[in-house]
Amino acid sequence: MQFWCKAEATAWTWGWTAYVGVWGFIVLLVLAVVAWNRSAARRAGEAPAPLHPLFAVGVLILWLALDWPIGPLGASHLASVHMLQFLLIGLVAPPLLLRGISPAAQATIASSAIMQQVTSPLFALAIFNVTVLVTHLPFVADALMPSQLGSMAIDLAWLVTGCFFWWPIVVPVPVRAKFPPPLRMLYLIGGLMFSPIMFGLAGFLAYSETPMYGWYELAPPLPGISSRDDHQAAGALMSIGGALVAFIGLSVIFFNWSKTEG
């Protein structure tokens, strides 16, 4: 039993391990959102709205990305699985989780000056990309991944800044008249689909002559998977996965925009 997944120099086995910190975090997250929605509804004199089904999907994806086997495989053995974790935690789960926040709760948080600042498109774009860059630098990842707290910090940084990044797209408050659908689409294209940070990292991972990350290069190997192949797969996942998520986001924005315009 462990609190959180971390990089460990032990051979991979399919023996299940409990990560109680992950379970606790998932439970706390759900309880916090439910409590926050109820409190906001009470203050607004409304009946509490049921949780959006996409929130449950987001929670499920987050749990899958953090828990066994993806969690320990990504923390200890395969850079490609670590990248899959990044995609799920930082790009896929946040927009779904944000759908779980009721309009009344969104209004309360959006009225905060700090939240208005951190969810403004430029700031959110910057903090998300800086986090992506920093958490993928080899010396940062190699230094943080061997500790449970370090590994948790990386996961939570992706989740929190992912939520900031998606907030201006998914959450309609605060109302931003200067952020119409075409600009949102540009935001996704520049910040995700053709992000120089993501493309740069993906390029380094895929085309570097030697593996970037020491932990994955020196991890006990899995049969048939060389560290170079693993790093190339990680680069491809980052590039293709990021573009795919952006494409889905662009499609949703476009069709919603068409409906309102039509």
Binding site: A9, T10, A11, P138, F139, D142, A143, E209, T210, P211, G214, E217, L218, P220, P221, S226, S227, R228
Partner: protein
């Protein structure tokens, strides 16, 4: 990238003297080696004194006899002792060398041989060795011999013997084998001045292998030199060439955290000399003793020795139950696989620095006997 390299150096240090049961690592005590590595122009760890390429014959994975020294003559040779069922260190080393060799130009690749000696002959059949190594690089050579044969080679290389203590009787196919975790790099002149412990990365191999293939040597290393342990019988006429020749320096794993015994087999040159002091950076102090036998009235006891005189050409042995060296106040308790540097101070020959291998107590007597017999005793 500077910080990245510092982290790498940390990893390298941690593995520098690693004796691995594939997952079991020893401590980090190779500070001097790391300093040397940073100025040597190579990223491998400097071996001091250099190891001479051993002369042995084992059976290769085709069933043919393979004389290591002859078959690799004139080639840069990477020698590694491991086993194919190893879950971590062995496949990593082999995969990393293979990945880097694949990227080198033909001339460099052709100048390098990789030889893998099995430490698990029971499970590493020739077919298994060939298939496993071929999966990384078909040019890699796999050798096998009995555990005793391989231990003898390890001994000549100042490396710890194979540890089969984890081999269970009940499930013989599922066990780890303890073995040295470093790859030795022999230059074309037949000496190994560099070793690559676990923690060395492809980037480091890519930096060092082309230099080794070009025949470059680490900065500051002697062009060649005798190793601290040499099992070849020494002719009388050779004796004066080296004033004090150390055939073995061994420390059984100490039973306590504070002190342990050190045993030596050494041979003096042509002139009488006196060993008057012993020091080790791994211990607070060191002293020489002789165990005096007890009788039916009194137990044996240790008598301190101020110095030990070595007559011309004499072979001197520090053995269990006899004359020995005690190291007191260890900074870190040595464990099997560690290497403890010791400075022997002679009046005439000056200081002789030896690296004592920490071994299991059960192996000490056998290894000391082998060392003594190599000197014709």
């Amino acid at each position: 990238m500077q910080l990245h390299h510092r982290l790498l150096a940390g990893l390298t240090l941690g593995g520098a003297l690693l004796f691995s049961a594939c997952g079991r690592g020893a401590g980090d005590k190779a500070g001097e080696s790391a300093d040397a590595a940073s100025t040597s122009g190579f990223r491998g760890v400097i071996t001091s004194p250099p190891r001479e390429k051993p002369d042995f014959t084992l059976t290769d994975f085709n069933g043919e006899p393979f004389n290591f020294r002859l078959a690799t003559n004139g080639k840069v040779t990477l020698l590694f002792f491991g086993y194919t069922h190893c879950p971590d260190v062995c496949p990593l080393h082999v995969a990393n060398v293979a990945a880097v060799l694949k990227e080198l130009p033909f001339e460099a690749r052709d100048a390098i041989r990789f030889v893998f000696v099995s430490t698990d002959p029971e499970r590493d059949t020739p077919a298994r060795l060939k298939e496993w190594l071929g999966g990384f690089d078909p040019s890699f050579i796999g050798l096998r011999g009995s555990v005793e044969e391989v231990n003898r080679i390890l001994y000549t290389l100042r490396m710890p013997p194979i540890d089969l203590s984890q081999k269970p009787a009940a499930a013989p196919q599922e066990y780890l084998v303890g073995h040295a975790a470093q790859v030795l790099a022999f230059s074309t002149d037949g000496y190994s001045r560099l070793e690559y412990p676990f923690g060395i990365r492809q980037d480091d191999w890519a930096h060092d292998l082309p230099k080794l293939a070009r025949g470059e040597l680490p900065n500051g290393s002697p062009p060649s030199g005798p190793g601290g342990v040499d099992l070849k019988p020494m002719a009388e006429s050779e004796a004066p060439a080296v004033a004090i020749r150390v055939a073995a320096a061994l420390m059984p794993q100490p039973a306590t955290t504070t002190e342990g015994a050190l045993y030596l087999v050494l041979r003096n040159g042509a002139s009488e000399d006196t060993l008057y002091a012993v020091e080790s950076p791994a211990a607070g102090r060191a002293s020489m003793h002789e165990t005096m036998p007890g009788d039916h009235q009194a137990m044996g006891h240790m008598m301190p020795l101020a110095d030990v005189v070595l007559r011309s050409g004499e072979t001197l042995q520090f053995l269990p139950g006899a004359r020995h060296i005690m190291l007191h106040d260890f900074k870190v308790r040595p464990s099997v696989g560690d290497a403890v540097p010791v400075r022997l101070r002679f009046r005439r020959a000056g200081d002789v620095i030896v690296v004592a291998n920490v071994v299991a107590y059960a192996d000490v007597e056998r290894m000391l006997t082998a060392a003594a017999s190599s000197l014709g005793q």
